[in-house]
């Protein structure tokens, strides 16, 4: 807000010097550039994902008030992609507000319905989730635009099948997200490479997870690939979602025992390690 006044003053100064910029006006121009850069940076709230290298690639975290796209790397990774979307929604809702989940009817048969107990276990409180079922994809995009403009919506997730939502549609959604300040997520159930106006595009694959101390299931692991990033590098990360802490943790590349087993205890090495 404070940036608005000086920039107006500078603007008139710049307007006077047209042909040859003097030293004074160049200085003004630089000051103006700083103001503009500062304004654009402060205007974009960031959602830190809690993994240092990932946040660095994103320039401090996932941009709020913007549109992001999540898809599975292969059709069977639908569950993992959904999990990643839910995890992002949980992070976006840490400061309050509500999540709106929009789903066209036909998705349920293909990919399964959203299951409340699982969401609650991942950390998404059911009291802060509104689910909307729409008859057609077009309705879903309309509803998403409306929901994104609402300041009470912290995260809006819309499920789509494959190539739906073209450049124009996503551009509208991105503008709506900018107006409302919520996190806009498009969750696709088929891999999609078509160009659109999303800020980032993620491809999620499920990965073999860790074992717990007893050889049972550990935290689930994803391999997430940032395949498009408007303002930074792309990359690939291996993450787990810790639902107790409600945070991402970096998953080890291979599930090997962390500590060496005790030398003199040959029996039940895993139990000994766990104890």
């Amino acid at each position: 807000m404070s940036a608005a006044k000086p920039s107006a003053a500078h603007l008139s100064a710049v307007g006077l010097s047209t042909a040859e910029p003097s030293a004074g006006s160049r200085e003004t121009l630089n000051a103006l550039r700083r103001v503009v850069a500062g304004a654009s940076r402060s205007g974009e709230a960031r959602l830190g994902l809690g993994v240092a290298s990932l946040d660095r690639a994103l320039g401090g975290g996932l941009a709020k008030g913007a549109l992001h796209e999540i898809g599975p790397a292969a059709p069977r990774d639908g569950g993992a992609a959904t999990g990643f979307a839910i995890a992002l929604a949980v992070l976006a809702l840490r400061e309050g507000r509500q999540a709106i989940w929009i789903r066209p009817d036909f998705i349920a048969a293909e990919a399964g319905e959203l299951y409340g107990p699982g969401l609650a276990l991942m950390g998404l409180s059911l009291q802060r989730l509104v689910v909307l079922e729409v008859p057609r994809v077009r309705d879903g995009l309309w509803a998403m635009e409306e929901a994104l403009q609402c300041r009470a919506a912290g995260a809006v997730v819309t499920e789509l099948m494959g190539e739906d939502a073209d450049l124009t549609a996503t551009r509208r959604l991105a503008l709506a997200a900018g107006a409302g300040g919520g996190l806009g997520l498009i969750l696709r159930h088929r891999p999609c490479r078509a160009a659109n106006a999303a800020m980032t595009r993620w491809e999620v694959a499920s990965a073999a997870g860790e074992r717990d101390g007893f050889g049972g299931l550990g935290l689930p692991a994803f391999t997430i690939s940032l395949v498009k990033n408007r303002h930074g590098p792309t990359g690939q990360w291996r993450l787990s979602w810790d639902h107790h802490e409600r945070a991402f943790v970096t998953a080890p590349a291979l599930s090997l025992p962390v500590a060496a087993t005790a030398f003199d205890r040959s029996s039940r090495p895993q139990l000994a390690r766990a104890g």
Binding site: G83, G112, G116, L126, V131, A147
Partner: protein, 479 residues
């Protein structure tokens, strides 16, 4: 019976054989009670433009309580003329009478020739009319005629006790009601709205833009009226009166009491966008009425002084507005919240409840309690999937032992090797829900395949006890 038949000398109630004997070429159509009823309903709907208090008097009459309304139409007789002229233009034959009591108006409309009974003149108006004008059963009328009591005037001054003894209490009651000695309220067809705002147009409007602008104007008046009494609307209705006497009623419900004019207008804009095709403006609407059918007390909200961690009131209001608008567009049943249910059958563990109906503080638990209610198991991993298939998908699974975890399974034509399996979690069906007694126990396994797919599989039926060939299903996917 139409006009032509009447000219031929036919009468209502005449046996069909007699009529045929008089005029062999007579065309006969069966009476359609249901269609007549629908027509009467439509006319009643349209009469709503005169007064909200319209009562049905089946099979062929309507009662309008025009107390306090007549001056809007230039007086009682002008109103009656206007009504009849409009109905005649539609090809309907109608008679109307205005009187102090419903009973008197009924009798005069059917048997008299005056259209307006002056105040307190019911006795004079009714006296020359036949006894049937008192809304009596045909038998009573006949019995009265037998003793020479043919006109209402004959009855009025007779001693009451013998009349009641001979012809029943109903005769005296009808008499009293017609003369205004006994009160008789009109039962309105439609609920009476608490707040109404309406706008009439000398020139009908037809464009959706004009209709919406009108609704916005009316919403401002309605909102101001509600604010004075600190009410908010939960159910709003717009009635569009078409010039050719058709009425469209559009209702919109809200999740929280609402009186903000711009939001009311927005709700109807969304609603009209979906059902626009169903409302054919024809030659235009000459009246638009906005009514709050259901209202609720709503105190003016105080702006939040500081951010207290809870949602600010205006943020809350915005969410409700969003929910209302989505509900207006797609139907309130499609906007849901997931509410935990008291059952351990996985597919019934949550129910989707319309978001507009769940109150905010009703049954609100802390977030941790939320999770423990939903899943009895505490585990390192999430014990419940995030996606659940409405119909569990059959898979081919191979287990090393018949009641052990699966070793590999084929789902959607892809073979998955199981790397780790956890289970079984045995869930028996609830016998009180099970009508056929055929429901089998399920053994659930959480499995992870070698390439990381996490699925929730179950085996239906206990091997050896319930079935010899247990079948496998994939019920959900984990994140």
């Amino acid at each position: 019976m139409n006009d032509a038949a009447q000219r031929l000398g036919l009468r209502l109630g005449m046996p069909l054989a007699d009529a045929r004997a008089m005029h062999p070429a007579l065309a006969v159509a069966a009476s359609e009670t249901a269609a007549d009823r629908r027509l009467l309903d439509a006319v009643a709907d349209w009469c709503d433009r005169y007064t909200p208090l319209v009562g049905l008097d089946a099979p062929d009459g309507l009662m309008l309580d025009i107390t306090g309304c007549a001056h809007l139409f230039g007086g009682e007789s002008a109103m009656g003329r206007d009504l009849l002229a409009r109905l005649t233009a539609e090809g309907l034959h109608a008679r109307a009478a205005v009187a102090d009591t419903a009973g008197c108006a009924w009798g005069v409309a059917r048997y008299g020739d005056a259209s307006l009974v002056p105040p307190q003149q019911m006795r004079a108006a009714l006296a020359p009319l036949p006894a049937a004008a008192l809304r009596l059963a045909p038998e009573t009328v006949e019995a009265l005629a037998e003793v020479g009591l043919k006109r209402v005037g004959d009855l009025v001054d007779l001693p009451r006790a013998p009349l009641a003894a001979r012809f029943g209490e109903i005769l005296l009651r009808r008499l009293d009601q017609a003369l205004g000695l006994e009160d008789e309220p009109i039962t309105p067809r439609l609920p009476l709205p608490s707040y109404v705002a309406e706008q009439r147009f000398p020139d009908p409007i037809g464009l959706e833009r004009d209709v919406l602008a009108t609704i916005a104007r009316l919403a401002e008046r309605l909102g101001a009226a509600m604010e004075r009494r600190q009410d908010g609307a939960r159910l709003l209705q717009v009635a569009l009166f078409r010039t050719d006497n058709k009425v469209y009623r559009i209702e919109v419900g809200t999740g929280a009491p609402l009186r903000e004019p711009s939001r009311i207008a927005r709700l109807f804009a969304d609603r009209l966008a979906t059902i626009g095709d169903a409302c054919d403006p024809g030659f235009g609407y000459d009246m638009v009425r906005l009514a709050a059918l259901v209202t609720e007390r709503s105190e003016p909200a105080q702006a939040a002084l500081a951010h207290t961690g809870h949602a600010a009131p205006d943020e809350d209001a915005e969410l409700w507005h969003l929910i209302d608008r989505l509900g207006a567009r797609f139907g309130p049943r499609r906007v849901t919240r997931l509410v935990p249910q008291d059952t351990h059958i996985p597919e019934f563990a949550v129910a989707a409840v319309p978001a507009a109906r769940t109150t905010e503080d009703g049954g609100r638990t802390t977030e941790d309690a939320d999770a423990s209610v939903l899943c009895p198991l505490s585990s390192v991993v999430c014990a419940r999937p995030i996606r659940l298939f409405e119909r569990p998908e059959p898979v081919e699974a191979i287990a090393e032992v018949p009641d052990g975890p699966p070793a590999r399974f084929r789902w959607r034509r892809v073979l998955h090797e199981v790397a780790i399996a956890e289970g079984p979690e045995r869930i028996a069906m609830e016998w009180w829900r099970d009508d056929t007694g055929q429901a089998l126990t399920r053994d659930y396994f959480r499995v992870e395949s070698r390439d990381g797919l996490r699925a929730w599989l179950y085996r239906e039926g206990l091997f050896g006890r319930e079935t010899a060939q247990p079948r496998w299903f994939l019920h959900g996917l984990f994140g």
